[in-house]
């Protein structure tokens, strides 16, 4: 939502420009007309929220104060929200936890998805059926998955039941009741739900690697792992970046499943940034502070995205 500040031309994945097309004035007018709805929607969701958040983030305003948000200037607090934020360990912990979840879930989803995709590269009996089944978790509504995993991870639940059967003695870990295992449980749920997406995308990428080049490498004496490293991975680079980007973006916002499973608990053990903001918004009701958090995150994300894109463009040019 900082799109206001980024009117300059950028090139994200290449051909944003329309080289080779004659654009006469009529076309330009139509182009503006066509992009107008999207622009308006973006402005609609950007301008007011941005300005309002900026405004109230400078105040102590809370709906509990009994004055409208536009009167928040009465509660001007000299940037106290921002200075508070700097030392709000719960915020930084939540941020760190979100990063941790992302650093574990996304690579795990990637590696599992890639592993499965490799197994699905060539034909074998049952492939189509297996493929379809593999995609089921993506189709389960996240909130439903939340309830599902809440039950699965009960100490007397199916997960422990299976582990008990496997290890041959009763296993009754209360997953959701201790901080470490609760975090593991919510990560397992995320990995369960989103590995299929990685699998789907990466398999498409693998199948798209030209077979002749693979054969050529084989004939030149490259082993499987050499081919994978020198042919498959470089060819998959864009696909991998897309897959990882989608998951990083969505995983950063992790909320639905997690919130239903643990509510961010026990304590703050599974409190991610979205859950933290939810709680501060809905329970503590210190909305000026929430606005400050939102703006800080927004600015940080915008910087990260710009860096990533300029890095990508630089790499492309090289």
């Amino acid at each position: 939502m900082s799109m206001l500040a980024t009117e300059e031309k950028i090139s994200v994945t290449g051909d944003l420009s329309t080289t080779g097309t004659r654009i006469e004035d009529g076309g330009r007018r139509l182009g503006l007309m066509l992009t107008l709805p999207a622009q308006l929607l973006v402005l609609f969701i950007a301008v007011f929220p941005l300005l309002m958040q900026l405004y109230i983030s400078l105040t102590d305003w809370s709906p509990l104060d009994g004055i409208g948000w536009w009167q928040a200037y009465e509660l001007w607090n000299n940037f106290a929200n921002y200075t508070d934020l700097a030392v709000d360990s719960r915020f930084w912990d939540a941020l760190g936890r979100t990063a941790l979840v992302m650093l574990i879930c996304v690579p795990a989803e990637f590696l599992l998805g890639l592993g499965l995709a490799i197994l699905f590269m060539d034909n074998f009996a049952g492939k189509r059926v297996f493929y379809s089944i593999m995609l089921i978790p993506m189709m389960v509504v996240p909130a439903v998955a939340g309830y599902m995993f809440f039950m699965l991870f009960q100490s007397g639940g199916p997960v422990n039941d299976i582990i008990s059967t496997l290890i041959g003695r009763p296993f009754a870990l209360a997953w959701l009741s201790s901080p470490g295992t609760a975090l593991i449980a919510v990560m397992i749920a995320d990995i369960w739900q989103w590995t299929p997406l990685m699998f789907l995308i990466l398999l498409a990428g693998l199948v798209g690697v030209p077979e002749d080049q693979m054969r050529a490498a084989t004939l030149l004496g490259a082993s499987w792992s050499q081919r994978f490293r020198t042919i498959v991975m470089p060819k998959m680079k864009t696909i991998i970046i897309i897959a990882l980007s989608i998951r990083v973006i969505e995983n950063f916002k992790i909320f639905d499943t997690l919130y239903i499973m643990t509510g961010g608990g026990p304590g703050v053990a599974t409190e991610t940034i979205s859950v933290y903001i939810y709680k501060v918004t809905q329970q503590d009701l210190i909305w000026g502070y929430v606005a400050a958090i939102a703006l800080v995150i927004l600015i940080a994300l915008s910087i990260l995205v710009s860096l990533a894109i300029s890095r990508m463009n630089a790499a492309k040019e090289a």
Binding site: A38, L41, I45, I133, I136, V141, G205, F252
Partner: protein, 286 residues
């Protein structure tokens, strides 16, 4: 490819393991949907994998036709929430697709709106939670709280990035010769877009729309914040399925969960092929 026997054994073992991990939770949920109360047993007691006495009560219950004493007061059935989910997801998709398709075409063909790609990435990247305060205020101001159209509007906005990026990929790939030919014939650009381009893009439109639909259909957080009663969606409604009599109504939740999985599964199968192409954002061209 050389396939050795050990590799085949490994492959099937690994795939079967993956299938088990994939299926067991879902099958367990499915089986839960057919269990009577006595077998829900979320809270201790015995674990049953398959319903010992299968029943359709849970389904009847959420549609208000069960006479079993499951609950204290189910003053509303799942019908309206399902309708709410459908309406908001469908119209949200419509908004996202209309604005996204037009915008993507404008950029892809005429280079208009160069700011959109990055702006939309940021829009998607940013946690919706963090802008919900102003959004709630705006929605209340416009009288959009607890309406399916209000929900559709915000859905349309948050999934606009996907609609835009997917359609942009498709437009970038589309050969322009046909359009150029029509232009030479004297059609106006708008007419070309409406009469030639869009019909040609029908599969792309369908797959993007269905993907966006699934995203909208999955939402919990936004509906939680922007609906109160009349138009709560399935996930929000699901949270209210608990009772003093028996605690959480897991059977009913599971039944509703199964129903909620129907549209995405059907559509997922329908667009499987395009889904892949969409999700890879056209990066598959070598």
């Amino acid at each position: 490819m050389n396939r050795s026997l050990p590799f085949e054994i490994f492959r099937y073992a690994a795939i079967l393991l993956a299938l088990a991990v994939t299926l067991i939770p879902t099958l367990w949920m499915a089986s839960m949907a057919f269990k009577p109360i006595a077998e829900w047993s979320a809270a201790g007691a015995d674990l049953t994998w398959w319903p010992k006495s299968p029943t359709l009560d849970n389904f009847r219950f959420i549609f208000g036709t069960s006479t079993s004493d499951l609950i204290v007061a189910l003053d509303r059935t799942a019908g309206k929430p399902i309708l709410a989910s459908l309406l908001s997801a469908v119209f949200g998709t419509l908004i996202a697709m209309t604005a996204g398709t037009a915008g993507a075409y404008g950029l892809s063909r005429f280079g208009s709106g160069q700011n959109l790609p990055l702006a939309l990435i940021q829009l998607r990247l940013f946690p919706p939670m963090a802008v919900m305060i102003p959004v709630m205020i705006m929605w209340a101001f416009f009288g959009l709280v607890d309406t399916w159209w209000g929900l559709a509007l915000i859905y349309g906005i948050v999934t606009l990035p996907f609609a835009f990026w997917l359609m942009k990929t498709f437009f970038d790939d589309m050969p322009r010769e046909i359009e150029d030919a029509a232009l030479v014939e004297g059609c106006s650009r708008l007419r070309v877009f409406m009469k030639i381009t869009l019909p040609m893009m029908r599969p792309a439109l369908a797959s993007s729309a269905l993907f966006v639909f699934i995203l909208n259909w999955s939402d919990y957080l936004i509906a939680l914040l922007l609906t109160t009663r009349e138009w709560v969606t399935i996930p929000v409604y699901m949270a209210s399925l608990s009772s003093s009599m028996t605690g959480q109504l897991y059977g009913a939740k599971a039944a509703l969960g199964l129903i909620a999985a129907v549209p995405p599964v059907i559509m997922g199968i329908a667009i499987q092929k395009h889904l892949v192409r969409g999700l890879t954002f056209g990066a598959l061209k070598q």
